[in-house]
Amino acid sequence: MKIDTRTPLLEIKNLGISYYTRAGEIPAVKDFSLTLRPGESVGLVGESGCGKSTVAMGIMQYLGRNGGIVGGQIKFKGRDLATLGGGELRDLRGGEISMIYQEPMAALNPSLTVATQLMEVPLVHEGVSTEEARERSLRMLADVHIPDPERVMASYPHQLSGGQQQRVVISMALLSNPSLLLLDEPTTALDVTVEAGIVGLIAEISRKFGTAQLYISHNLGLILDTCDRVCVMYSGEVVEEGTVHDVFSQPRHPYTRGLFDCIPLPTADKNARPLIPIRGQLPLPHRRPRGCNFGPRCDHFREGACDAGAVRMEAVHEDGIGQRVRCVRWRDIRFTERNGGEAIRERAEAGDIVLHVDEMQKYYPVDDRSLKALLTGRTRRWVKANESLNFRARHSETVAIVGESGCGKSTFAKVLMGLENCTGGKIRFHGQDIGQVAVQDRTAEQLSAVQMVFQNPNDTLNPSLTVGQQIGRVVRKFGVERDSRKVRERVLRLLDIVKLPRDFIHRRPRQLSGGQKQRVGIARAFAGNPALVVADEPVSALDVSVQAAVTELLMDIQREHGTTLLFISHDLSVVRYLADRIVVMYLGQIMERGHTRDVFDPPYHPYTEALLSAVPIADPNVDKREIILDGTLPSAVDPPRGCPFHTRCPRKLGKICENERPPQHQAGSDHVIACHIPLEELRRVDPVIQLRPPPDDVKMPSPVA
């Protein structure tokens, strides 16, 4: 397709958007300018509450009753959107501008078939015949790589997997042949291997259809994989923009730089190169500081300069195009290789084995009352949530359990905590078998020894009780202290440990931010001096800068107390950063386990290989081999025989994978791979991730004296 790349498609100038609430006018976006040319894709990246979704809604002229554009101009193909009437806007929305949202299930109507929803687009916008609409829908489904489009057309949304749903949503957005596609976190609700497929598809779309894209995400790695240019937003303003290459290899704004220091890139290491969290919090929209919004959190803040008045965007290069930054001091700031110069931490030595998991198995019965089941006599089937798990965890060691949703990692945590009983095998903790001991039958010591940090910060604390009451209850319950003054002292000390102000003891959860709630959750878990803490995705719901702080906090407490940490996660970047050993699970079974460096280097299990490739990495100096898995995760009810991964495995050998349980290769000391492929062959595989030395022209400027 031929694209006119000179005239801009979308031109936003000094856009300001405000919301009106009881507290008064709240400016959500200030002084936002962006030019998007046809076929170009621009990323909008920032933490929650920075105004990135508001920009998209502003472009759609869809701000709700309490929002409004207070300044500036949005021009689409030369027309000012503010001057358009209702009918013209309707034609524009879903016609020339399409939007893709985060939750595919919420974007599709559950009571209509995919065919009805897809065909509606050309029928409404172009008034074509039913046959043609059908024809075009089928073609579009094939274009987004949906296998068997005929079947998908006839299905209802709930009959499709999340990845397929999102593909349907994308095809719906593309059916009207839009010239601009707004993508608001399109893969955040999906698993990493599915995400990799969607990201590949989105990149392909812009090549194939020449659609311009505005890609909104909190994930810098994804932006690097999908976009040409990037705008970094902070507290309602763009603080830095430029080509992806410029911004990622030479960030100029302290906030951008800070974000990169928060992400566990392959070069980070929990002992030698720890993450550097950005201190403080995002200012509330109606309590922004004077001058630079980032000022109070910035290490390079200088009184008189940074808080003098509104900061304007300045071009970094003399020709005035390319990278631009909103910082008065960008010329003076020299980022050293390591921004904060954190002290190198001592490696904690792993001690004796505290947890033995032997052939542990958890099946859930499912009663099938269908006629067919009654006739064949198979009325009871089993969900095999965990199948023969074997691993060990040592004193003061971090063991990560990695896998996508539905791999059985949370079920394992439940059994370990005593919320469920295992149906076979043994879980021995300090020599005692606790796999069959339900939580109400455990002794006080057993209870206090194993505690948990939960995933969702909004769910982890009881909204009706104060922080002090919740932590204090644990202290009392586990008999650490009984006297009420001593309990209070212990609670205050715990607040110190998780680096929260002491007066938080009287706060209620709704007065805390997500990261603060998660810290309270950690304090609660450590209140009874546990020997083992299970952390179920403790940072995945948090913003990048907060993630780093909470991760570091967990590591610090663990180092100090010698706690064994079972870290459950789907994110291999975080896991590489903090885990000593890794257990990779797929459909309830362990595919590979071993020391972190062994798992991240060949030989890999083919599933580990695909997972490694799927995780986006926000480092332009990393070369990654692309492996995209086909198909969807099979159901855990009657999982595939043989190797559970054979339905999606790119290295499948043949019948043997379908029929026989894979052997356990010993690839090294304590490194086990369950695969039919001979070990020698697996060893010959190239590494998925390779670090390139940074080229000379983009080397970090050396520090000035």
């Binding site: 939580v439 769910d459 319950k477 009287h506």
Partner: protein, 297 residues
């Protein structure tokens, strides 16, 4: 250290509770619907409290039969709302009758809530056979026509204030149980409940401390609505002759008693009707207002 500990001594909970009540009142002030509700309910509360002061006559004194509203009484004062066929002042009877309603309606609602909450918590938290048994009992009661149920219960145990409370509890608790059960089924999956379970908290602690307080929002709104219904129910019971035994003033009983004269002397019936509906309206509007503020952040 010591000064910090002193400065964060727990504040007296009474003062805190009062502060919170004031705060929610301040929020309610923004909803004019809620404010009308507050006004109506407060009006009847005051009337009931000050009945001996504001009622012009003895409620049961037979003064002058069938007086029209506004008639002056020979011994002083006037019958602002007229008198009934026995010559009792309608206004005074309404005023004294408000005491009956405002004592028994909240009492009955409270008892129904205690029973309903206990059943709902047990059914929703423990699930399994407890849930099946309790839900079956609740459904069985709910499938009965309400009026028949009241007539059955009260004609078995006899009409009295206490028995009204028992009958209303019996008939309303299953509905409350269903609401509570639904809320508990959602709340029991929260992580803080799992956290309590994994530290070995007993069931009653989890239900009363971890779950119930977080279900309070919808329950408070429902309680206000239900108070309104109970006011109607007490009226209906009085009308059916199942309310307080005569001659004590009772709004429903007044309507029933004067029913034969409704065509020639409508005031005997209309004013007690207005009293009932204004109080019910008050509770319903208050519930609407509360729901409105609970929907906001």
């Amino acid at each position: 250290m010591s000064d910090i500990s002193k400065s964060i001594q727990p504040a007296p909970s009474v003062a805190l509770g009062l502060l919170k009540a004031l705060k929610s009142f301040a929020l309610l002030r923004e909803s004019w619907v809620g404010m009308i509700g507050v006004g109506l309910v407060a009006f009847w509360l005051l009337v009931a409290l000050l009945a001996p002061l504001v009622a012009p006559f003895e409620p049961n004194a037979q003064l002058q039969p069938m007086a029209k509203p506004g008639t002056a009484f020979a011994a002083g004062g006037s019958f602002w709302l007229g008198t009934d066929q026995l010559g009792r002042d309608v206004l005074s009877r309404i005023i004294w009758g408000s005491r009956t309603v405002l004592v028994y309606a909240p009492l009955a609602t409270f008892c129904a809530y205690v029973v309903g909450i206990v059943m709902g918590l047990a059914a929703g938290y423990y699930r399994g056979w407890i849930d099946e048994v309790l839900s079956f009992v609740a459904n069985a009661i709910l499938s009965f026509p309400v009026l028949v149920l009241y007539v059955l219960v009260i004609s078995t145990i006899g009409p009295s204030g206490l028995n009204i409370v028992i009958a209303i509890t019996f008939a309303s608790a299953p509905g409350i149980m269903r609401i509570v059960r639904g809320l508990v089924l959602d709340l029991r999956n929260r992580d803080y409940v799992a956290a309590a379970q994994t530290r070995g908290e007993p069931g009653w602690y989890i239900m009363l401390i971890e779950i119930l307080p977080n279900a309070r929002g919808p329950l408070i709104v429902d309680a206000c609505l239900r108070l309104g219904y109970v006011v109607i129910t007490i009226g209906v019971l009085g009308f059916l002759g199942l309310g307080l035994p005569p001659p004590d003033p009772d709004w429903g009983g007044m309507i029933n008693f004067s029913r034969p004269f409704v065509q020639i002397m409508p005031h005997m019936v209309i004013f007690p009707c207005i009293a009932i509906s204004s109080l019910v309206l008050g509770f319903n509007l208050l519930a609407d207002g509360l729901r409105e503020i609970s929907l906001r952040d």
